[in-house]
């Protein structure tokens, strides 16, 4: 490889880029021929997995391939029910299988790590967890991912390995290679929250990478305070603005009515998977006094489970439990139909809901970054943003968003009221300023940083 040559990259994530909805032609069953996605219909035969990581990495790969920064790209991910290999243009997707019986153990440990990093009390006792059967399943999955990559490497001479998200942390150590390994940590990292018994374990695995990338300056500082001496870089997550559209007023109206949202009701929109950490309960509690004053207002909650909670994924039931709790809370507060649960929506409907929203809210208790804020900004919608999100460092309170402490629901209620009573000029200013800020989180701006990252670690 000479400097400037296109790079061959291996990407590893937990969530697969593509989930098949059908099994067209017994995909990949008896032969080793990869399933060509170009022969299938998106939305009918398959869908691109929603979620921050896949949504971020796919446009990046497409752009860098178009710019000849990347040529051959292989994407290895967990997909218990998918065929072994799929092709999406010049991207090859490799699915790692995991038997159902191993899934629960893996999911258990993954949730525990996630909880520990987010400072959840339930995650205590982590030291014990490292010696359980569940932990051996977690190691099994990471090793199976690493082995899939190693087998690929026999035929593909990769320039680098780009491993995404905390679930895959151990993969770096398990990859026996001299090639550079990059790890992208997508969730928050607060040194003060890491349980003592997890520190050595985490540190050892972080050290197996040549570069660690985090989503905000605060996480970078925290990782250094944690004692990580390796290379760390901050890079904001990003979306591809081309993925978002502005539907006509008629389509927006029809989409809202289909969800039972009356024509003139102000809509307060929360987008995020059903998870206690996403703080939907905060938004509902703050909304209760607001709803009393503005009976027409509707709080719309968009989102369902993640890949982990889906039937085709890990089948964890956290999201269903959380939704039931939220519905009980809505009933308890007497909010009835004023809170709308949409579940998962497709991109067009999501665009409609953003357009329909008066403003959006990110009420997360902890949030690695908060790409939904960027989505809201792309629709020029003002946002109320938890100060615990990584994206908060891009927000200047009162200029491109309003920040709040997710524990202070009275303040959140005040901010909701503030925007609901505004004559529109403030909302417009916030939305416009947000739109300008969104340029820092688009694939266009990120492509150069990602290219530099890849060139730096590969020396090419």
């Amino acid at each position: 490889m000479t400097p400037g040559d296109p790079l061959t990259l291996c990407i590893n994530t937990q969530t697969p880029l593509v989930q098949l909805l059908t099994n067209p032609g017994g995909a990949d069953s008896a032969t080793s021929r990869p399933t060509e996605l170009s022969e299938l219909k998106e939305g009918v035969d398959y869908r691109i997995s929603p979620g921050g990581v896949t949504r971020m990495v796919l446009p990046l790969v497409r752009r860098l391939q178009a710019e000849h920064v990347l040529d051959d790209v292989h994407w290895v991910a967990l997909n218990p029910s998918g065929p072994r290999t799929l092709r999406l243009g010049s991207l090859t997707l490799h699915n790692v299988g995991l038997e159902r019986e191993r899934m629960a153990g893996y999911g258990h440990v993954k949730e525990a790590i996630w909880g520990a990093v987010h400072g959840l009390e339930a995650a205590q006792g982590a030291e014990e967890l490292l010696w359980t059967e569940h932990y051996s399943e977690y190691a099994y999955y990471n090793r199976a991912s690493a082995e899939t990559i190693q087998k690929l490497e026999k035929t593909v001479d990769f320039d680098a390995f780009y491993v995404h998200d905390f679930q895959q942390l151990a993969v770096g150590h398990m990859l026996n290679t001299l090639k550079p390994k990059i790890f992208r940590w997508h969730i928050p990292f607060d040194d003060s929250m890491i349980p003592e018994e997890w520190r050595s374990w985490l540190a050892a695995y972080f050290n197996s990478y040549d570069m660690v990338v985090v989503s905000a300056r605060r996480y970078l500082d925290s990782l250094k305070a944690f004692g990580h001496t390796g290379k760390v870089r901050k890079m904001y997550p990003y979306v591809d603005p081309a993925d978002f559209s502005t539907p006509s007023e008629e389509v927006v109206r029809a989409a809202a009515l289909a969800r039972g949202i009356p024509e003139n009701s102000p809509v307060l929109l929360v987008v995020g998977r059903m998870d206690p950490m996403k703080g939907q309960d905060r938004a509902i509690r703050a909304f209760a006094p607001v709803a009393a004053r503005f009976p027409e207002a509707r709080l719309v909650l968009v989102g369902n489970g993640s890949f982990s909670g889906s039937k085709g994924g890990l089948g964890l039931s956290k999201s269903a439990r959380w939704r039931a709790e939220l519905e009980a809370l809505v009933a308890e507060l007497g909010l009835g139909t004023r809170v709308v649960f949409t579940g998962h929506v497709d991109q067009l409907e999501l665009d409609c809901l953003y357009e329909r929203a008066m403003f959006t809210i990110l009420p997360s208790v902890q949030e690695g970054f908060g790409l939904v804020v960027v989505e809201s900004w792309l629709h020029r919608r003002p946002t109320l943003i938890t100060d615990r999100a990584g994206i908060a460092e891009l927000v200047e309170h009162g200029r491109n968003g309003l920040l709040f402490d997710p524990e202070d629901m009275a303040k959140l209620a005040d901010q909701m009221t503030e925007l609901l009573t505004d004559d529109g000029s403030r909302r417009q200013r916030l939305g416009q300023a947000g739109y300008r800020t969104s340029s820092k989180c688009t694939v266009g701006s990120a492509a150069r940083l990602e290219e530099k990252l890849l060139r730096d670690v590969t020396g090419g």
Binding site: S81, R84, S136, S310, V345
Partner: protein, 270 residues
């Protein structure tokens, strides 16, 4: 043309080769099993030796059957052996030193050690020498055989805690399953091990035939070192015996349910 005079010796030759192969495999398994509590590398070496001895005996028998006197073969092998021992004495000592240092010496690449007047970080252990990097950036090459005769001090902090076990598994063995088995088995020793560090399996090298690994555990009390070494060895060998081969590359190989079509509105969002 009557082929009988040729067929019979050929048949006997074939049977002898087959029997030798069978006995060799049997000897390998018996020795491996008998040494299951020893260091895996020593056990593997002994099993290989047993196998080679059986093949040598088999070769002598085959040669006899072919009507050739085995004395000449034995003489040639013997002379070659003596010549090799004399001419490669030092190299063999170093190689032996390396072999035994892998197994018994309490240092590894990355450790800081002191040997005579030399001190430095071990950066390489090759077949002949151990290379140290001194604090003043000098490379010090110490013949491996020296480590078998001299006192070596491992100055790495808490070096006594770490036990590293070299393991070789067949190239067809499912490494993920082997690792899962080792972790499950070693979890039974957790009260004797440092709870913050679950066992770590590291791949060192691999060929189509075998994968060289190390299993690292951290112990809690120095006096447990020997007992834990024996027990961990035994458990690694057991896990190796139980590890299944890598699953074949085909869909529907126990990788969960077929793709489900989720009902509208229940697809997984972020």
């Amino acid at each position: 043309m009557d082929l009988t005079p040729y067929l019979l010796p050929l048949l006997i030759f074939g049977l002898t080769v087959a029997l030798t192969a069978l006995l060799s495999r049997l000897a390998h398994l018996v020795v491996e099993q008998a040494m299951s509590q020893s260091n895996p590398q020593v056990a593997a070496g002994a099993a290989l030796l047993a196998s080679v001895v059986i093949w040598l005996i088999g070769a002598v028998v085959i040669i006899q059957q072919l009507g050739i006197s085995p004395d000449i073969l034995l003489l040639v092998v013997g002379l070659l052996g003596v010549a090799a021992l004399l001419s490669l004495r030092e190299q063999l000592e170093n190689y032996g030193g390396k072999y035994f240092s892998d197994i018994y010496s309490p240092y590894k690449v990355g450790d800081s050690i002191r040997f005579r007047e030399h001190e430095g970080k071990v950066i390489e252990i090759n077949a002949m020498t151990t290379i140290l990097l001194s604090e003043d950036d000098h490379l010090i090459a110490v013949p491996n055989s020296m480590f078998m005769r001299e006192v070596v001090v491992n100055t790495t902090p808490q070096a006594w805690r770490e036990l590293t076990f070299p393991v070789s598994i067949g190239g067809s063995v499912d490494l993920a399953a082997f690792e899962g088995g080792v972790l499950r088995s070693l979890s039974k020793l957790r009260t004797r091990l440092d709870r913050r560090f679950p066992p770590v399996i590291t791949t060192r090298s691999r060929t189509p035939l075998s994968t060289e690994l190390t299993v690292t555990v951290m112990i809690r009390r120095p006096e447990d070192r020997e007992a834990i070494t024996l027990e961990v060895n035994k458990r690694i060998m057991e896990a190796r015996g139980k590890a299944p081969p890598t699953p074949p590359k085909a869909a529907g190989d126990g990788r969960g349910e077929p793709p489900a079509t989720p009902p509208p509105g229940t697809a997984p969002p972020p």
